[in-house]
């Protein structure tokens, strides 16, 4: 009636009657069930609990630690596998492409160089970065098939080929998802995809225990991806913080340290220097000589944070529209496949166009590229656009952070930034496993370095290192897009290796988040919303304290009596699903009513 109508008018966040929500993005999806964290405390359970001896409990605790250790080791090993494969494949690819480019400048066969586009893509089922799914899982939503072994295999292979194929993706988000799958799989002692069951760890086969191990796995994934064990723990804290306790923190930290150590150990072994533990993560920002700053720098960093927030908001808005379009229209498997191929091809074409057009030549040796591309530069020089586009994105970020002054020009960097931003926002959401951290770091590092170069030109004595500004730009852009707070700061601090530089990073992330939040939410939250997942946020919607339950509950109310027939209960449960989400008990005149 009128009362309901008034409610809709006053607080627009309650979408009762939306005339235009035909696709349902503002409504919630009914396919998601919640996980079951409560123990069913019946007499059977009580008897079992009594029958456990002290030694049994100790053994269970020891098993927990053992599983966390295994999670760390396996996650580190997976990260190693991904890194090595990408490195080898990329080497082959770039060597071949460089020889083609060199030859084709003279022999007019550029057209073939363009067609050579190594795009093999993974299965659509494990698409995206996986962070939204893990976030939902850790907060109690049962996302179907998110922690299956098959998902893991698809993810790992998919991310391998996406990165080598030259897509604007990173391997960190998928690493987090992989770690979570490892956590779920190892703790259960069975694999549903392949139908085998080891029969161990049966105590851990509850949703609550599984959730704890998935947190450990996610933290291990972050630690392996960034070389940031503490960042991993904080990521698990920030994303799945509803269920936390001290013992769990310590075990998760153990997992993430083990993961980081395993990766460093294996990489040291692979590079020929055993016991060289200097590669703790897949991303390495390299060694910074000096990262000093003063108040003036901080003020400039804050401005860069604003820019990061704005461009992040732009990125998210574009991606939101694209994602809605994809949900509605690009829905067949063939369509998704075609789209992935198209994205890869256009990425390659755009890279080529950029290298072709931007005239920016630097002497050989100033950048430590493995395959410098000369393109149309005079002999003895190479194209600095190629330094950004002809390497894996991680190497390009390292170039931007560490190359000496004069390697890049401001126009070249701006010319790189805008197309790459558009490509990255277009790529995220395509049905391939793709991480978002590295592309946004690359975009931010590019414009950040542009700012640094500009400042260096204006005040050469005061601003000597454009690499520092590249780092801040990267942090600002990443903060503007993902809007993570403490975990991202710690990840970046650990990746840089410089604690004192934590203050500028934190300032920048805060400013970027505030500016970005004014326009919308972070990208992961946005994808969760678009998928209509019933994820309960931290706070109730603002200005909703006056809304009574009567206004939002369904009517007529479905009632069950205190003593009820089993068939009636089963019928009601089947009709409304097993979801515990919306059950609200209200004792009114002897009637306990589940409200849907």
């Amino acid at each position: 009636g009128t009362e309901r109508q008034r409610l809709v008018d006053n607080s627009g966040e309650w979408y009762f009657e939306s005339q235009h929500a035909v696709s349902g993005e503002e409504l919630l999806s009914a396919k998601f069930e919640s996980l079951d964290y409560d123990t069913c405390e019946n007499s059977l359970w009580a008897a079992e609990d009594q029958s456990r001896t002290v030694w049994d409990l100790r053994r269970i605790e020891l098993c927990r630690w053992l599983v966390h250790l295994l999670i760390g080791v396996v996650t580190g090993a997976i990260a190693f596998f991904i890194d090595v494969c990408i490195e080898q494949l990329a080497k082959v690819k770039y060597r071949y492409m460089k020889s083609m480019l060199d030859r084709c400048i003279f022999h007019d066969c550029l057209i073939y160089a363009l067609l050579f586009c190594l795009t093999v893509f993974g299965e659509p089922v494990a698409a995206g970065s996986g962070i939204p799914q893990i976030k939902c899982f850790l907060n109690g939503i049962q996302v179907p098939r998110v922690v299956r072994l098959r998902t893991l295999v698809c993810k790992v292979l998919g991310v391998l080929f996406s990165v080598v194929g030259g897509l604007a993706v990173g391997k960190e988000g998928p690493m987090i998802h992989s770690g979570s799958v490892v956590g779920a799989g190892l703790s259960q002692g069975r694999a549903a995809s392949f139908k085998f069951d080891l029969g161990i760890f049966e105590y851990f086969r509850t949703d609550a225990e599984k959730r704890d191990f998935v947190s450990g796995g996610a933290a291990a994934g972050v630690a392996a991806a960034f070389g940031a064990p503490v960042g991993g723990v904080l990521f698990a804290l920030e994303e799945g913080a509803s269920f936390w306790n001290q013992g769990l923190t310590w075990r998760i930290f153990f997992s993430s340290m083990t993961s980081s150590f395993t990766l460093a150990f294996l990489l040291g072994f692979y590079r020929g220097i055993p016991n060289d533990l200097s590669n703790p993560g897949l991303i390495s920002f390299g060694k910074f000589d000096k990262l000093d700053y003063d108040l003036l720098h901080l003020a400039i960093f804050a401005c860069m944070g604003v820019v990061g927030g704005l461009s992040g908001a732009l990125f998210n808005t574009l991606n939101e529209h694209l994602t809605k379009f994809r949900h509605r229209y690009v829905t067949s498997k063939l369509g998704q496949l075609t789209e992935a191929v198209l994205v890869a091809s256009i990425t390659a074409v755009t890279s080529f166009v950029l290298i072709y057009t931007v005239r920016s030549c630097q002497p050989l040796g100033s950048d430590q590229m493995e395959y410098p591309v000369q393109m149309y530069c005079p002999d003895g020089k190479f194209s600095s656009m190629a330094a950004l586009l002809f390497q894996t994105p991680e190497a390009a970020v390292r170039s931007l952070l560490h190359d000496p002054v004069g390697t890049y020009s401001v126009t070249g960097l701006i010319a790189f930034c805008l197309p790459y931003l558009l490509i990255a926002t277009w790529t995220y959401g395509v049905m391939v496993p793709s991480g978002l951290f590295i592309p946004s770091l690359l975009i931010g590092a590019a414009w950040g370095r542009g700012v640094g170069i500009g400042l260096n030109l204006l005040f050469p004595t005061h601003f000597t290192d454009p690499g520092k500004f590249a780092l801040i730009g990267a942090a600002a852009q990443l903060g503007g897009i993902v809007r993570m707070t403490i975990s991202l700061s710690v990840i970046l601090i650990e990746a840089t290796g410089n604690v004192l530089f934590g203050l500028p990073i934190m300032v920048v992330l805060m400013v970027a988040k505030w500016v970005g939040d004014y326009f919308g939410t972070g990208i992961y939250d946005m994808h969760i919303e678009l998928a209509s997942v019933p994820l309960l946020p931290w706070e109730p919607p603002s200005r909703s304290a006056a809304v009574s339950a009567q206004a939002v509950m369904s009517s007529p109310v479905t009632c069950l009596y205190r003593q009820e027939r089993v068939s009636r209960i089963v019928e009601v449960m089947q009709q409304y699903g097993n979801s515990k989400l919306w059950v609200r008990a209200c004792i009114v005149d002897g009637c306990r009513s589940p409200v849907v």
Binding site: Q19, S29, I105, F106, Q133, E339, I346, G380, V533
Partner: protein, 304 residues
Amino acid sequence: MNYCLLILEMLLSLLIVGRSDSTGLQMVAVSAPTMSPAAMNCTAFQYALSRASAELTDCMCRAARPFTLCAHCYHTRAKYADLHQLLVKDNGKDLSAAPDGTSCRKYLMQLDSVQVLSRTRDFVESVWRSSNCNNCFSSNGGSSQNDSLPRYRSDLDQFFNDTTQLRECFANYSSASSNQSGPSIVCDKCSSLYSALTIRFDTLSNAEHTRDRNTHSLCMDAVDAMNATHRLWSEAYQCDSRVRSLQPLPLIIAGYLTAVLFYIGARGRGQFKQRKLLRQKRLGCFASSSGAVSGSASDVGLLN
């Protein structure tokens, strides 16, 4: 006392004679091994060391541009290094005690915090190492003192021969083309030599390409010679022939068009997937939820 002054004079005279020829003719014998078995005076040694380092710095600065440091300063550096080794390994036998009674090594190297002698040595060694000079010569390249310059490794030697040939080619033909404009005869006549030279240099530098990508360890003499040649070729004689071709343009346009057409096609087909949504039950509102088609086909995997 007279004996000491005599030795000092001898040393100084030898060193001055050696120093006068600055283009690299080093005929000065290394002093320490040929000295008499009697121990050298510590102060005299200090002066000898100082002279050697001054000579070396002089040589290095002169050979800095064009960069021929490795070849020209090889013998000078060897002399300085030998003297310094003598100091470092001193155990009282070769060098007499310092004026205040302590051993010569302790006196010269361990009694003050500025450590000039050590710093000089560090400077010299770092320049030498950055120039990758140890990679320039074959193992016995510099051992004969009678040569004016040490011998390069055979492959580097060939490279330098080729460079000299190319420069001669430039010299021959550039005078002829000075009254012409545009791409000159130099570019035509010397291009085969130039290509051969670049290929040879690429082979050399790939051979030095170590696993750790951050080290470039080719002899700097060669690198600089190649850079100078590049500069001559591209800037002085303007012989670069890289012209942007328009051949890939149609394919690029076709690529972008395909992407646009794909999305237009997807929109045009209008296949609108409905989702299983959580609808509230409201009295009297079932049939009137506009446009809602509930409970249709299975959901697409939506969380990306």
